[in-house]
Amino acid sequence: MEINKVKVSAPGKIILSGEHAVVYGYPEILCAVDRRLSVEIEEAGVGFDVQPIEGKALVEYAIEVVRTKLNVSGLRNLKIRIDSQIPIGSGLGSSAAFAVAITAAFFEFLKLPRSLKKINEIAYEIEKKQHGTPSGGDNTVSAYGGFLLYRKETEVFKVFSPLKTKVFPSIFLINSGKPEENTGEMVKAVKNFVLKSPGQAEMIFKEMEKITRSFLRYLSGEEQNFGDLITRNERLLEELGVVSLKTKTLIQKIEAIGGSAKISGAGGMKENSGIILAYHQDPKVLVKLANEEKLDMFRVKLGEKGVKNEQG
């Protein structure tokens, strides 16, 4: 008898533009990247096995939601294996990729007709169980892939616009190291800035929105200034005070060789600033710098395909 075995993967994501500003109602662009997380589900005679074991609690969460939402029982004697190329807790959307991949894997396992809309809805419920009030952006970009414009219009009304793009740039992600301050402190620092200098903060956020809109034109092939937009975005993040001197120095080195770079995520003020997005028209030049500076750098392609079956 053939054993029921399925394997599905979903991509991680990065924020191309709009971090921090998005908290205050300004738009941001999310994009799927070619770092993926896969979930394999196999029927087991007896028992419930999750590899790696650290994922067991998450898998149990997910199964509980899947059972409820799909109105199915059982799902007990299973072997589940999670493999991820997405670093955990780095802002690259590993939890959303997991939620999407495991939901889609159960659709395959239960031989249900694939519905991206339904998979996305269930993944959102799994995200809610972990994070309270997720926006839904991470799971949406992981399910559908590509690029997504997101804006919180009000506290309850959110707008997601999938983008039709002609350009799929390759960039590099540099891990500048774990920031000394926790990310709660970063959110607080920006909040304090907004409360202390509301006019200046509004000006920065409005400029960020202009850059986000220019990125949209770039992605649709209307503009060719990708590097310049990254540099301008970085300057505004520096004005917000979320980039450390050490990171600014590194970014200046990248700019000095004709490249551009910005932090991607919450940033860090004292020493390290987390993930940095870097771009150069000639990638070899960046690779040479990374080798000289011993940077932890890897290449990613933007606009990756969403959730997909890995078993043909």
Binding site: T133, P134, K152, T183, V187, G265, A266
Partner: protein, 68 residues
Amino acid sequence: MSNVMVNIGTSERPCFVPENALIAPQSPGGNSWWGKVATGSVIVPERELLKALKISGKAGGSNGNKQS
């Protein structure tokens, strides 16, 4: 991983936050959640954001209602 969520909103307008984000914002779970706030992956209304920042700035626990 803690699976406890704390309601820092009201019963009419709940706002659930992972306990770690409040009492241990420097922990991997707490850090990750606040990162999600900064990048819009998690939405926290203005009033609750200020409350969460105030709670997480203290070393002690929170007074919210917990749920598992």
